[in-house]
């Protein structure tokens, strides 16, 4: 390998990049747009659940229960109805997600010291939201129920009783449970993967289509120099993209950064190497620029988006899919990004992920070089 030839390719590619102002602007603005779009749209937070109340009992006891819901930030009581049809209509029209129905004999059962029932109706069409809402409702009702029981016991026994076990939940790393903190670090990784594929997927296919590749192959230039030189040029753009994406994440979304900046720079570089080599490999495999573009976007966007665990938790995927995610490089960078951003964990925890990123980059580099050699023959 000759450094002189490598440098020639590198500079030539930089000229291509800077000459094509529109593509360059797109490459640099796209991470900002994607982050803003996905960062805000992909909110997984469930609060202010629109709720209707159907109070058949109409007693002070039932109103006391209703206050538990109106007083919570998780529920937003939209109004009171006096029949099931109204609830059904409201759910059908997506005006509410939940309804609380307090039966006629609610206070009577309570007064008799019997078990009183409350009906919670939830729109299950979005199962994820539904199960979260269900959790909130159960928590509210159970808490209220314990409070009622201890009140009764206190009244009977005359002494203060407290519930035997008081579970105090504390959420670590993302204490406010804000989904942006969870989404944005992973999103940065996914965006880098897509940008890398977009940048490189045309680079070899274009040279074949234009006929310039034939010229290159008649010179002493070697496939390894073409692949490396091109990668280095697009790496510069990739790094700029990473910087832009990080800036948006930290400044606009105010995502906490707790870990080592060095660790993050190293892993972003390793990830970019692999992703850029992948784009070059795809470009060398395709016959036309269009084909290269489609293959590049599909093969990087889909796995990065669905199988990286950046939103969709890998633990809940079917076993087969879980195994497949192990060969998706985005999975490892997402783990690293979340670890570095939110948990502040270091090399000792993330070394395996780093090794995978190194391996991936090396393997894809070899594949891309080999593909170039095959085309050559």
């Amino acid at each position: 390998m000759s450094p002189r030839r490598l440098r020639a390719i590198f500079i030539k590619e930089l000229h291509h990049i800077t000459r094509d102002g529109r593509s360059l602007a797109m490459a640099l603005l796209m991470p900002v747009m994607m982050l803003l779009l996905y960062g805000y749209a992909l909110s997984l937070d469930v609060d202010h659940v629109p709720t209707l109340i159907y109070d058949q009992d109409q007693t002070s006891a039932s109103r006391d229960l209703i206050r538990q819901f109106t007083g919570s930030r998780f529920f937003d009581v939209q109004g009171y109805v006096d029949n099931y049809r109204a609830i059904e209509r409201a759910i059908d029209r997506n005006r509410i997600i939940m309804a609380v129905v307090i039966p006629r004999d609610y206070s009577r059962h309570l007064d008799l010291g019997e078990r009183a029932n409350v009906q919670i109706l939830i729109d299950g069409s979005d199962s994820n939201t539904a199960s979260i809402v269900q959790g909130y409702a159960e928590t509210v009702v159970r808490g209220y129920s314990i409070q009622l029981r201890s009140d009764i016991l206190n009244r009977r026994g005359g002494e203060r009783l407290t519930p035997p076990i008081d579970a105090r939940l504390r959420v670590w790393y993302n204490s406010s449970l804000e989904s942006k903190n969870y989404v944005v670090p992973g999103l940065i990784a996914v965006i880098l993967q897509i940008i890398a594929a977009l940048l490189t997927s045309l680079t070899i296919a274009r040279e074949w289509e234009m006929g310039t590749m034939e010229q290159l192959l008649s010179t002493p230039l070697r496939p390894v120099e073409i692949v490396l030189g091109k990668m280095m040029a697009y790496f510069v753009v990739g790094l700029a993209d990473a910087a832009v994406a990080l800036a948006v994440g930290l400044l606009v979304f105010q995502v906490p950064f707790r870990g080592s900046p060095t660790l993050m720079v190293v892993s972003v570089c390793l990830f970019l190497f692999g992703s850029l080599f992948w784009g070059i490999f795809v470009s060398a495999s395709a016959r036309t620029q269009l084909q290269a573009y489609q293959m590049g976007v599909l093969s990087s966007f889909l796995p990065a988006f669905l199988l990286s665990g950046f939103v969709y938790s890998i633990d809940t995927m079917p076993r087969v899919i879980q195994v497949i995610t192990r060969i998706v490089p985005a999975r490892y960078i997402v783990t690293i990004m979340k670890g570095v951003f939110l948990k502040g964990v270091g090399w000792r925890v993330l070394w395996l992920e780093l090794i995978f990123l190194i391996l991936y980059a090396a393997i894809v580099f070899l594949l891309a070089t080999r593909k170039m050699k095959q085309k050559l023959a």
Partner: protein, 325 residues
């Protein structure tokens, strides 16, 4: 121009710049190059003539190491095409049929790029660049985007980029296609300059008039070399026949009338007149005048002419077709 050699592999002693023995290339069942053998001496301008699809480009690509031959052997500059592609690439310049510089780069950036990939040493770079810019007449426009150049400039720049490393052998694949006649003339004078400084030039073309500029020619037709020699020798090969130029007012009627004339071997439309091939010019000319007079066709011109390369080529192809039939 600086004559220092640039990072070139030392070539084994061979009197020929290009040697081809029984070279074959097939694409599926199609035989693109069919047992071609020829030699090109050092410093020669060797022309590769033939219609499109004759196998010229395929042969050149095999010589440049861009395609692998199906069978046969070839060497360039003493290096074997099959086993020493790296050495070959260092010692050749190649200009492909399609313009293959980077349109979005400037003239200078293209030159710098090829200087880099050909590994021209630092101390020679400035000199080579100046030489190529001057040769192509682009010194003034060195900072212009390549896409803004006209066909003739582009072609001279492409030639310049192919000789930055001063290669002993140059392969030019239809370098003048799509370029205006004046630019073609300038281009051929550049090729002659290169030949005078010891470069071997292997050039393909389908312009018959350009054949006259070559030292030696191979006529290629349907994958085969059907004739090989100097332009003079190839024309002399047609001495068994004589070519007559015949201009008349009614070329179509003339052609029909000539069909019945004994001693007329072939009639071909050539520009506004006809080229008539005959075996015995004296007798044939008399018979032609007689026949055309009978048809009351006025003859504006009837005389012996020297065959052009195109006549040679047409005759060769006809012989070849007759043999195949």
């Amino acid at each position: 121009m600086p004559r220092e050699k640039v990072e070139q592999a030392v070539s084994p002693a061979s009197s020929f710049a290009v040697e081809i023995h029984d070279l074959v290339k097939t694409f599926g069942v199609f035989v693109a190059v069919d047992h071609v053998s020829l030699q090109v001496a050092k410093g020669e301008i060797f022309g590769f003539l033939g219609p499109n699809g004759a196998g010229k480009s395929t042969t050149i690509r095999m010589l440049c190491g861009l395609l692998t031959p199906a069978s046969g052997a070839a060497s360039v500059n003493g290096f074997d095409v099959a086993t020493q592609p790296e050495e070959i690439r260092r010692s050749i310049g190649y200009m492909s049929q399609k313009f293959s510089l980077y349109d979005d780069l400037t003239v200078e950036e293209n030159i710098d790029f090829f200087t880099g990939i050909y590994g021209v040493p630092q101390r020679l770079r400035a000199g080579r660049k100046t030489y190529v810019l001057e040769m192509a007449g682009l010194t003034e426009r060195r900072r212009a985007a390549t896409r803004e150049l006209s066909g003739g400039w582009k072609q001279r720049l492409a030639l310049g980029c192919a000789i930055l490393h001063d290669p002993p052998v140059l392969f030019l694949d239809e370098p003048t296609s799509g370029v205006d006649p004046i630019a073609r003339g300038q281009f051929w004078s550049l090729i002659h300059d290169l030949s005078r400084t010891g470069h071997t030039i292997f050039v393909s073309t389908h312009y018959m008039d350009e054949a006259e500029y070559c030292h030696r020619l191979a006529l290629m037709y349907r994958g085969k070399v059907i004739a090989l020699g100097t332009p003079q020798a190839l024309k002399a090969g047609l001495t068994s026949h004589t070519l007559l130029q015949l201009d008349s007012d009614q070329p179509l009627e003339t052609m029909r009338a000539l069909e019945a004339v004994a001693g007329v071997l072939d009639v071909a439309v050539f520009g506004s007149g006809l080229h008539v091939t005959v075996d015995d010019p004296g007798a044939a000319m008399a018979r032609i005048r007689q026949a055309l007079g009978a048809h009351s066709i006025a003859i504006r011109r009837l005389e012996r002419i020297d065959p052009s390369m195109e006549d040679v080529f047409v005759a060769m192809i006809e012989t070849e077709e007759r043999r195949a039939a």
